[in-house]
Amino acid sequence: MRWFWIDRFDEFVRGRRATAVKNVSLAEEHLHDHFPGVAIMPNSLIVEGMAQAAGLLVADAIDFNRRVVLAKVAAAEFHFDAVPGDTIRFQAEVLDLKPAGSLTRVTSTIGDRLQGEAELFFAHLEPGEGVPKLFEPEELLRWLDQMHIYDIGRDEAGQPLARPDW
């Protein structure tokens, strides 16, 4: 089982920005205990959603050639709680992208209110000793398909993204 903290992408512009959606549902077990009778989505999991949105944006930009791992939450601030029934929109933007790492900024909004904002720093690790394999290629591709990246994704010139043939 994997943790999926975004449901799909609504916008995906290679190497630049992306918008992902997460619907918060009381069917999610973690909300039953956090807290009983007063369900609140933990902001730590919202950071995870932010990281999944921004991480896929970055990983695609470097052709999935390196393992993109969340190395650092450089800054994060939250303004109110996300609760069941909310639709969270994660808007991720690439601030800086280099072979060894990338800096991104992600906001979470619910309706027209800014719920949270964070700067996330990713390290791009070369596959090799001591670097765990994160995905089998077909499993990764399944996730990208589920996220609709190749349905709605565009490159900087506005052309559709080609689905890799792994």
């Binding site: 190395a71 650092k72 800086d96 072979p99 060894a100 790492g101 800096l103 720093f121 390290a123």
Partner: protein, 128 residues
């Protein structure tokens, strides 16, 4: 070319943002790792911020020579060899390595680099 104080202020602001430390903690003699708590991933973050603040390009390993410190060619029994120290000096002319030379254990290097070294590094890049 900005003055030393202007450079220091921008370096300070980069370190405050990257490390989440108070401005008052970022003194010239503060060590990056020991006093400010920088970890290896923070150096990558700091590189990003210095590049942006000063419009310079910093190559991998230039600011924090982890490749030298982890090289079997330059490290023996946890200490940097004479060749390793020579390589560091050539690579990092901006850093004051005199204290490190007295006890060149790799672990000790963490407490060698100071904020002032970062300022000197930026000065050297801007002068190049």
């Amino acid at each position: 070319m900005p003055s030393r104080d202007e450079i220091f202020d921008k370096v300070k602001s980069a370190l405050v943002d990257a490390l989440g430390v108070d401005e008052d903690d970022v003194t010239p003699n503060a060590t990056m790792v020991g006093d400010l708590g920088a970890e290896s991933i923070d150096f990558l973050d700091i590189v990003f911020r210095l590049e942006k603040a000063f419009n310079i390009k910093i190559s991998r390993g230039e600011l924090f020579p982890e490749d030298v410190l982890s090289s079997s060619e330059f490290v023996a029994d946890g200490k940097l060899t004479a060749a390793g120290i020579a390589t560091l000096k050539a690579r990092m002319p901006f850093a004051d390595l005199s204290k490190f030379e007295a006890n060149p254990s790799v672990q000790n290097f963490a407490n060698t680099l100071t904020v002032e070294d970062m300022v000197r590094y930026v000065q050297s890049k801007l002068a190049a």
